[in-house]
Amino acid sequence: MIRNSYIADNCSSRIFGIFLFCLTLVYLVPAVKAADGVITDLTSDKVPIEWNFTGANIFLFGAIEGEIRADNKPDVIVVVRGPKKGLVARKKERVAGIWVNKNPNKVSSVPLYYSVASSRPLLDIAPASLLDSLGIGFQSLVSKLSRNIDVEDSNVAEQYSEAVVRIMEKQGLYKSGASGVKIVGDRLFQVNIKLDANVPSGDFYADVYLFRGGKLLGRRITPITIHKSGFERLIYNFAYEHPFFYGVFAVILAVIAGLTATALFKQD
């Protein structure tokens, strides 16, 4: 199946173009009588984070292939997963009147971004056990992270993994929306993937699941690259790859700024 990939560009004419592209597919596909499945395209599969980055929206468009019956319409769930990293979670306790971080626990391979959008509430689409095995939804994420924490007590592990999910959600790194996927007509769907300014860079994957009658019919994975670019990337790389020279650079910058300011204000 064709999957066009374009360079990052969020203009509306582009979105319209993709829409037309999908529309064409929809009218071509039933004629060939393809098996059940989905085809997708993105407005941008590379998102650069530059000095003025305040977040981004990526529109994912798709079309449902195969037979569609009016009495049993298909559902779509889109999960976007970011790069994974080991984190340390701590719980605060009151020590001498002050709240102190205590009880550290390592949580391995935590996705630094996770968003789930669906055409209907998740549990209306598929049973919890199926969603769990596919890693769809915050509940499945909690149980998965619980297994990544090395503690005896499973209740404690669950409290920690719930906390991780809650904190990541508060930071806008985990998102969920029961009506995030809009199905247009019978076959077309679109979802808006929101990325906040604090989104980590790395390889992301948009996973599109097609369900009907509580069963998984098809699945398609689309990679998205979030990379820091431009001036912002330059500074970041400099700081992490040549930390000593970065420090020297910061000092020189401060000296120049201080002297320039004095020189400027002396004149008046």
Partner: protein, 308 residues
């Protein structure tokens, strides 16, 4: 206008940061203080990670003190020998401080320690300022002259390793300036302050160095120690954000110019009381954050070593 800070990894409003740099610069020009002890807490309140606030604060102080240091140097107010002794202590203190930050970060206690250090220092300094200015106001009303104990000798003169500091007209042990320098190095690394509020009174009252030499020599030491801390934090912790520092510098130097002009028309005691009040307010806010039960008891941080 939003700008994404590459090291703090958050998006901030440029004008808010400018205004903050400007306000702190204004106050430092007005009161003749460094202002680092207000800048770092303000950055933390805005959501900048405390470690980034501290390291970037140190970087910003290089810019705000370099001109003063140069001017003092030209006027011959720097005791280079004393400054070098202070600086040696400062370098050792910086190393210890930066490594301490690195270790506290890995055990997840750095934010707490920075807050505790601020609450303690701001509480003491703000309290002293308020007391002194209130006393000064009362004295000026009663018109009673202030007499200081002028004894030339104290316990300092009993210490070994005596050195002669010609410029300061002193013959004292090298230990007190060495330890003083070390303490300042620690404070710069841990709190992102210049340390002027410690070093200046200590040099005047403890070491009995002439005031003009104190100002020049402490600025000399502060420029070098903040520069070294900037480099060390960059190397060990990667917490210096040059974009944030630059915004603060621009706001700071402009604010300071206005502060100096306004300060010339105001009375000393009232201003010191005002500054003391502000310092106590910031202290209180930090204390409340430590004491009140947080909404979220859990916290998440990246594992050190795998820090991106």
């Amino acid at each position: 206008m939003q700008v994404y800070l590459p090291i703090a990894e958050i998006s901030v409003n440029v004008f808010a940061i400018f205004a903050m740099g400007g306000a702190v610069g204004f106050l430092s020009g007005l009161f003749g203080v460094g202002g680092g002890f207000l800048m770092t807490p303000l950055l933390i309140f805005t959501g900048i990670p405390p470690t980034v606030a501290v390291a970037t604060g140190a970087n910003q102080i290089v810019a705000s003190s370099i001109s003063g240091a140069l001017a003092q140097w030209k006027r011959g107010n720097v005791d280079v020998k004393l400054g070098t002794v202070l600086l040696i202590g400062g370098i050792v203190g910086s190393f210890i401080g930066v490594e301490l930050v690195r270790w506290l970060r890995s055990v997840g206690q750095i934010d707490l320690i920075i807050s505790l250090a601020y609450v303690t220092f701001l509480g003491v300094i703000g309290g002293l300022m308020m007391l002194e200015s209130l006393n000064a106001m009362r004295r000026s009303k009663l018109d009673i002259g202030h007499k200081r104990n002028k004894s030339r000798h104290n316990w300092i003169h009993g210490l070994p390793f005596k050195m002669r500091f010609h410029r300061s007209k002193l013959f004292i042990s090298a230990l007190p300036p060495l330890i003083l320098g070390l303490l300042v190095g620690l404070l710069v690394a841990l709190m992102g302050v210049g340390g002027g509020f410690i070093i200046v009174p200590a040099m005047i009252y403890l070491l009995r160095i002439p005031t003009n030499i104190v100002v020049g020599t402490s600025l000399f030491q502060i420029v070098f120690v903040t520069a070294i801390v900037t480099i060390l934090h960059s190397t060990s912790n990667q917490t210096v954000d040059v974009v944030l520092a630059l915004l603060l510098m621009i706001g700071g130097v402009i604010g300071a110019q206005f502060g100096v002009r306004v300060g010339q028309h105001l009375r000393g005691e009232h201003m010191r009381a005002l500054l003391g009040f502000m310092v106590l307010a910031v202290c209180l806010r930090m204390l409340v954050d430590l004491i009140v039960e947080p909404d979220e008891l859990y916290s998440v941080s990246q594992m050190l070593g795998s820090l991106k």
